[in-house]
Every structure is written in structure tokens, then in C-alpha cells.
């Protein structure tokens, strides 16, 4: 949770220091726009450098896409939730997986105890995907897949299930998160060491460009880096350095920049100061376009357009008076719309306690509809563009993001900066500074350190963990193991191992193993054997 720090004299604001360390002046004037050239620095929407938006008409043509976190316990429950959200106008799914699946553990692994189906859907084999996606029009509904270390396995599963249900591969659209470096900074769902993890991402990018052209193979997540404590400048700088790491890896395989960079998208965070966030997104669009054109010589418009999912972050929400989070969520949605997002995914008001209940998820979805239909956010593109304050702040944010990118590049780029713990340390220190500012009251969080309301146990309905789901999941896993052709499983896993060792693209081999009903745990074990496991650097 955070925002700007305020130095006050009584009620009078003496100084405002944004999270990114920028001091805000009381008044901005045309003087502040002196250095800004409209054509060079802003351009019309849909034109380089895309500061004002990546499309000429933005929300006039189509509103933003909405996505809510879904994916519960069993594949059957998840399927029901998918259909419920689609029936209420949701246009894309966002599938959450339980922690064992994200860490490549089968549901009957001892390490998975107590976690099966808890924070998302448990997936052991293709059978689970067949249940979860039954009756979903995979050619019109795209899916965000919140999975990273085993994204290659889950993407193979998505392909196989779509083929099985008769959807052509050039029609389906998956957005696996597939950003392992950010897992090493925050969120923690890593398995393999840095270098082979990057290689697996390279495999998914290379493969999906050919086999599933509508797929967005990587969603680079500043979101989780910021949730871990990074300020907005660090969020974008580290996300960009992560993207650059993947880009340079794929370029080294011989692909051209325009072959794939337009398929990369960003998942970014919204909480804190409204103006700082809007300026952050506008600066990010401009800096991305410039970087991709200047460094890599990209020619196509598509390659230069910064695509994002900008969603309200859990770190902005409070345990205290959870209903206030409905209001915060609405402001975060407003920021997202004012920033020209492609997709909006909002946290639900109960997320400080639990994964969203159906009612809370529906309120978030309706928040987005209210903005689009009642508040005029679709009327004109980049309505804050040209504001003395916003344009000045956009330029300052861009300069600060560039400076932090240079810091990372000076120590050898993001792979080195994560291996050494530099980024983890910077982010943790920033989290601690923010928390201290909340404690000393210079950073106000309503209901937490100011306007505190004494209350009884907050009246939040919790999403209860269902232990029966575990039995069902394990029973299905065992049935799959019993009924599949084990010779084909062994053969496809051996082929996978050979491909991994030989440095071949593992995707076609994963597809074969998935078709044979090899389990997530079995395929992960092959990779662990070949690649080893990640060791966290100490940051203290």
C-alpha cells in the first residue's frame, strides 16, 4: 500500500514527494511544456511514439477488455466460474492455478499438502484442461494463464485441448504470464535456474510465433515487482530490462525483431497517486516505442506499440474496512481507463483476506462497466493529454525510468541483476521505506493510519478451502495414471529429456507428452533433472 509522502504544516501541504521521488510543484504552466514537442514527444494517438495511446481511436472503437481472476479448486468449479463470468459480459478469462501446479508438483506430491486447489485450479494432466475448457468458445474467448515456471507445459496443454475441441490453432489466443525473472524478484513461483528458465521462455516465443500466431507468449509483469514494493519508476524500468533480456535471447536465435516483439505484452500495477500512475503508463508507451525502434531497428508499427493489462493492485487495498476497497478499486479502474489500457483486471475488495468471492468479483466487473457506460471514459482519447502537469510528469518519469534501466545495464542486465540479488534488494528496501512512511504518518492510508474506525471482525465472506476437492483431484490423477498408455508416456518423456539436453525447442516434445497424459509433475521432473533448480541469492 502506498502513495505520495506529504510534508505538512497543520493542514497546509508544504511538500509532496511522489513514490518515485519526484517533488510536485503547486502550479504547472506552459513553461513546463517548453521542452516538449508535440510531434516528436506525443504524436497523435496511434502514431509514434504512442504516448497518447497505441490506436487512433482507442475506446471509441472498442472498450477495454475486462478480466477477473478466476480459477478455483477443481477444474469443474473453474469451468462453472468461467461460464458465470462470460454470461455477465466478461470477454477474456484469467485462469489462476494452484501453487503446486505453478511449482510443477502433482496433486499427490507430499510438498503439495494443504495447497491443492487453494488459490486456483489444480492441473495435473490434460484431463483437467478437458474439464475446465469444456463448452468454452476458445476461438473467441482468450485466456490469460497465470503460470510462469511451467508455462511451456501449460501452453502445450492449451494447444492440445483446443485441437481436441476442434478450434484451429490460428484462432486461439492464450496469454501465459511466462515471465520468470519477475518471479525471482517477487511472487516466488520459480523452479529452474535463471539461464534455462530464460531459454524455456525463448522456446515458447519461438514456437508460438509459428504454431499459435494469436498467442501472446509472454506477459512481462511489472505488476508483481511493484506489489513487492517497487516504486512506479522501478516497476517500469525492471519490466523493460526483463523484456530486453527475453528479446536479446530470442534475437540470438536468429528471429527478427518484427517477428515477435509485437506479441510481447505487459502486465502492470495500479495503486497510489493517480497522476503518477497515469504519467507512468504514458511514459512507458513512449520509452518502449523509442527503445524498440532505436536499439533494435524495429520497423513495424505493431512492434513499437506498448500493449498492457493495467489492473488495480492488491497492495493498495487494506484489511481495515474492506468495503473502502470497492472505492479504491473504482479509482484504480479510472486510472486504467485514463491511461489508455488494453485490458483491465481489477482486484476485488476482499483480496486482502481471500481470493475473490463471486460477489466481490462481480462488483469489480461492474465497476469497469460503469466507467465505460456511464462516466464518459470512452468519449475521447487520452483526455489528460496536454495537461501541463501530466505532460511534465510524463517526461520526468521517462527520464527516471531510463536512469534506472542504465543502473541495471551497468551491472550486466536483468539476468545478472536478479542472480546477484540487486533487484530483490532494491525492491525490498523500497518496501521497507514505504512501510516506515506509513508508520510515521507521512504516507496516509485511510483507515490504517488516519481516520481509523474501530470495528469488529470485518464482515468479509471468505472463500473457503474445500478439502473434498483434494480427494477428487487425486482420484482423477490416479485414474489418469492407471488408464493411460504408460509406454507412450515413458517414450515421450525420454524424447523430452533428449530435446532439453540437446538445446532443441522443447515445445513440440511437450505437446506429445501432454497428448500422452504425462503429468505436470513428470514433465517438470525431466526439466529439473536436466536444468537443476534455482537458488535464491541472500539480500540481507
Amino acid at each position: 500500500m502506498s502513495g505520495a509522502r506529504y510534508i505538512k504544516d497543520g493542514e497546509e501541504i508544504k511538500e509532496v514527494i511522489l513514490e518515485s521521488g519526484i517533488s510536485v510543484k503547486p502550479i504547472y504552466t506552459p513553461e513546463d511544456l517548453k521542452e516538449i514537442d508535440y510531434a516528436r514527444d506525443l504524436g497523435n494517438p496511434g502514431e509514434f511514439p504512442y504516448t497518447r495511446g497505441i490506436h487512433p481511436e482507442m475506446f471509441r472503437k472498442l472498450p477495454w477488455t475486462t478480466r477477473q481472476y478466476s480459477g478455483f479448486g477443481t477444474p469443474g468449479e473453474t469451468n462453472e466460474r468461467f461460464k458465470y463470468l462470460i454470461s455477465h459480459g466478461q470477454t477474456g478469462l484469467n485462469v489462476a492455478f494452484d501453487l503446486p501446479t505453478q511449482l510443477g508438483l502433482d496433486s499427490d506430491d507430499p510438498m503439495a499438502e494443504g495447497e491443492v486447489g487453494r488459490v486456483g485450479m489444480a492441473v495435473d494432466s490434460l484431463r483437467d484442461f478437458e474439464i475446465a475448457f469444456a463448452g468454452i468458445k476458445m476461438d473467441t474467448i482468450g485466456s490469460g494463464l497465470t503460470v510462469n515456471a511451467v508455462a511451456s507445459i501449460i501452453l502445450a496443454m492449451y494447444q492440445v485441448v483446443a485441437e481436441k475441441f476442434g478450434f484451429p490453432l490460428d484462432r486461439i489466443s492464450a496469454t501465459p504470464q511466462n515471465d520468470i525473472l519477475k518471479e525471482m524478484v517477487g511472487r516466488g513461483m520459480w523452479i529452474f535456474p535463471v539461464e534455462p528458465s530464460i531459454r524455456l521462455i525463448g522456446d515458447t516465443i519461438e514456437y508460438s510465433c509459428k504454431a499459435m500466431p494469436r498467442t501472446y507468449p509472454v506477459s512481462i509483469c511489472g505488476y508483481h515487482i511493484r506489489e513487492s514494493g517497487a516504486n512506479p519508476v522501478q516497476e517500469i524500468a525492471y519490466a523493460f530490462e526483463i523484456a530486453i533480456t527475453y528479446i536479446e535471447h530470442v534475437l540470438a536465435r536468429g528471429l527478427g525483431i518484427d517477428d515477435f516483439v509485437g506479441r510481447l505484452s505487459f502486465n502492470l500495477d495500479i495503486y497510489g497517486n493517480l497522476f503518477e500512475q497515469v504519467a507512468k503508463f504514458r511514459a512507458a508507451r513512449r520509452l518502449w516505442a523509442k527503445t524498440i525502434r532505436e536499439r533494435y531497428g524495429a520497423k513495424e508499427k505493431r512492434s513499437l506499440q506498448f500493449r498492457m493489462l493495467a489492473g488495480g493492485g492488491g497492495a493498495g487495498l487494506t484489511m481495515q474496512q474492506p468495503e473502502n476497497n470497492i472505492v479504491r478499486g473504482a479509482y484504480y479502474a479510472l486510472i486504467s481507463a485514463l491511461s489508455g489500457t488494453q485490458t483491465m483486471a481489477l482486484c476485488s475488495y476482499d483480496e486482502a483476506y481471500t481470493i475473490p468471492t463471486p460477489k466481490a468479483a462481480l462488483i469489480s466487473l461492474m465497476t469497469s462497466h460503469i466507467l465505460a457506460e456511464e462516466m464518459g471514459l470512452r468519449d475521447t482519447v487520452d483526455p489528460l493529454g496536454g495537461s501541463y502537469y501530466i505532460e511534465s510528469l510524463t517526461s520526468t518519469m521517462e527520464q527516471k525510468i531510463s536512469a534506472e534501466m542504465r543502473n541495471v545495464e551497468a551491472i550486466g542486465g536483468m539476468a545478472a541483476a536478479v542472480s546477484s540479488g540487486y533487484v530483490q534488494r532494491e525492491v525490498a528496501k523500497q518496501a521497507y521505506r514505504q512501510e516506515k512512511a506509513i508508520q510515521d504518518g507521512t504516507l496516509v492510508k485511510v483507515g490504517v493510519n488516519k481516520y481509523v474506525v474501530e470495528e469488529d471482525e470485518p464482515d468479509v465472506e471468505l472463500h473457503e478451502y474445500n478439502p473434498a476437492a483434494l480427494d477428487e483431484q487425486v482420484a482423477r490423477l490416479r485414474e489418469v495414471r492407471r488408464t493411460r498408455d504408460s509406454r507412450t508416456v515413458v517414450r515421450t518423456l525420454k524424447d523430452l529429456e533428449a530435446a532439453a539436453k540437446a538445446g532443441k525447442n522443447v515445445m513440440p516434445y511437450l505437446v506429445e507428452a501432454v497428448k500422452a497424459y504425462a503429468t505436470v509433475g513428470e514433465m517438470t521432473a525431466v526439466f529439473k533433472e536436466v536444468f537443476g533448480e534455482y537458488k535464491e541469492p541472500s539480500i540481507f
Binding site: 516466488g188 484489511m319 525490498a428 521497507y432 478451502y465
Partner: protein, 138 residues
């Protein structure tokens, strides 16, 4: 306990949950408050935490749990600590902990619970004042 010895704290992340912003912030806080702090890192089993506590000779284990599995994990840790002859290690729990579970955690032998939103002051008070008192009482 030798009262001049600095309090040694193991901040531990049991289970698979990977959110450790809180664990890291508290590690910095306790270090600034004069403790020796060791952080286990992610994805630790209860057995690995007990082993680390033994190796590092800590006075306190601070569990950080956000997954909702705080009750079974804590119960298991307390039993394994007793079994390993480390029953005198003080255990605290922080994270996403509903208030209705506080009494249950205390009854398992947890000395302090710090749900999300607990003030730094309350946490440092516990470690600077109550931990030495508890150690002396042993």
C-alpha cells in the same frame, strides 16, 4: 539466556506461497531494532525450518504465512520443535491471519500473532521487551 546476547530471529516462509514482501520488511525492521535476523527464503518445509532453527541457534521463529494454511502449518511446526527438543524456541506468526484464528494459534503455543496491518511499534515492542522476558522465564 545471556542477557547481553542479541536476540536471534529466524524469519521463515513455510509452504509454497511465494509472497515475501512482508517477511522481508519485517526482517529489515527487526535488524534495525537490534536483532540478528536470518531469512529462510521461500518454499521451505516445516522440517527445513526446524533444521535451520537448530543450525542457527535462534531464540525466535517468525512464521510468515499468507496462504490461509496457518493453522495446520503452525500445529506441525510446534510438534516438530518439541520432538527436536527445541520446545523453548518462541514462535510468532504473521501474515494474512483472520482474527477468529488468533485464539487457536495461541492455544497451539504461539506467543504472538501479527496479522497484516500490525504496527511496527507493536512488533518491535514484542521482540525488544517480551522476548527477553520470556527467555528469562525459561
Amino acid at each position: 539466556m545471556n542477557e547481553h546476547k542479541r536476540v536471534r530471529v529466524l524469519i521463515a516462509k513455510p509452504g509454497l506461497d511465494g509472497h515475501d514482501r512482508g517477511a522481508k520488511v519485517i526482517s529489515y525492521l527487526l535488524r534495525d531494532a537490534g536483532m540478528d535476523v536470518i531469512y529462510t527464503g521461500l518454499h521451505k518445509t516445516v522440517d527445513q525450518i526446524v533444521e535451520a532453527a537448530l543450525q542457527e541457534d535462534v531464540d525466535v521463529i517468525g512464521l510468515s504465512i499468507l496462504s490461509g494454511a496457518h493453522l495446520p502449518i503452525t500445529e506441525k511446526l510446534m510438534a516438530k520443535l518439541r520432538h527436536a527438543g527445541l520446545g523453548d524456541i518462541i514462535v510468532t506468526v504473521g501474515g494474512v491471519i483472520p482474527r477468529r484464528d488468533l485464539a487457536r494459534l495461541k492455544s497451539l503455543g504461539v506467543k504472538a500473532v501479527f496479522p497484516g496491518g500490525t504496527s511496527f511499534e507493536e512488533i518491535t515492542h514484542f521482540f525488544q521487551k517480551e522476548v527477553p522476558a520470556l527467555r528469562q522465564a525459561l
